[in-house]
């Protein structure tokens, strides 16, 4: 590696790549082949894909709703504990609107 100047080598190789001309040759009757390929591929129906995705997500949403409904129906309701964090939080947030608070 002694004597190998890497930045200079990099520069030389990049300019070698720049000097290389890239062919733009197109194979014979390529456009006919492309058109046949395009015609053979089924067209993408965006609306159908969107409707399909919506139906799938609707099924999943219904399942979640059913599970949550069942949980709320079959879970015994209990009074919130005196030190319930959610109650305290709600009280603090609504303190400004609660007129009793200022009396």
């Amino acid at each position: 590696m002694v004597g190998m100047k890497l930045p200079e080598l990099q520069k030389k190789l990049i300019s070698a790549a720049r000097m290389q001309t890239v062919s733009d040759r197109v194979p014979y009757a390529f456009e006919k082949r492309v058109m046949a390929y395009i015609r053979s591929c089924p067209a993408v129906d965006v609306t159908a894909l969107w409707a399909q995705a919506l139906w799938r997500s609707a099924g999943a949403c219904l399942a979640v709703v059913a599970v949550l409904g069942a949980v709320s129906i079959f879970t015994p309701h209990s009074q919130p504990a005196p030190g319930d964090l959610s109650q305290d939080f709600e009280k603090t947030m609504l303190a400004a609107l609660d007129s009793d608070y200022f009396r």
């Binding site: 080598l9 070698a16 000097m19 197109v26 194979p27 390529f30």
Partner: protein, 191 residues
């Protein structure tokens, strides 16, 4: 009378698929030249170009017409080439021990007399192809667009869909990756 590009595109969008053929005929040379920068085997190049045209046909409805069709098509082509690179990441193992005699001679000449190592030599082209083949897909894309095709960062951002800062970061990493590969090549050869 020959139809304009806008008329052809409008006809395709109305369901006349045959109107797409003149566009394929006109722009295929440019798409082939782009694809040849990223793939070597002719069968792979043809597959890439075919894929570009299929995508162009399917996404033509998203072409708004505020920029030339060619620009829109070239963005599709560059992104398809990038997908191709990502899908063909195998065989990127370093193979510097397999340098050909002309490549070795060119490197020896570069070490002894750097100015006498001609950039126009076939060996130099083979060496850079070897290096490019071993770069990661983003590095190869960036080096090709920025260093070889001499495009601006803004142009690259438009072509790739990356943000300008991301292009700059990837360019920095790509140059570092290339230097690392060159160092490895030098080490394999001279140590």
């Amino acid at each position: 009378m020959e139809r304009t590009e806008a008329e052809l595109i409008a006809a395709v969008l109305r369901g006349d698929a045959a109107s797409f053929e003149p566009l394929v005929e006109k722009y295929s040379p440019r798409v082939f030249a782009t694809a040849r920068r990223y793939a070597r085997r002719e069968s792979e190049i043809e597959d890439i170009v075919q894929e570009v045209w299929l995508k162009a046909f399917q996404k033509l409805v998203s072409f708004r017409g505020d920029a030339p069709f060619e620009h829109w098509l070239m963005r599709l082509a560059v992104r398809t080439c990038y997908d191709f690179l990502r899908g063909h990441q195998r065989n990127r193992e370093s193979m510097f021990s397999e340098l050909t005699d002309p490549e070795e001679d060119w490197l020896d000449r570069f070490v002894t007399q750097p100015e006498s190592a001609n950039e126009n030599a076939d060996a130099a082209r083979l060496l850079i192809e070897r290096i490019m083949d071993q770069l990661s897909p983003p590095a190869r894309l960036i080096i090709t667009l920025l260093e070889i095709e001499d495009r601006s960062v803004k142009e690259i951002a438009q072509l790739t869909g990356w943000s300008i800062p991301l292009v700059k970061v990837r360019a920095f990493r790509a140059r570092a990756e290339m230097r690392k590969l060159l160092a490895k090549m030098a080490k394999d050869k001279y140590l």
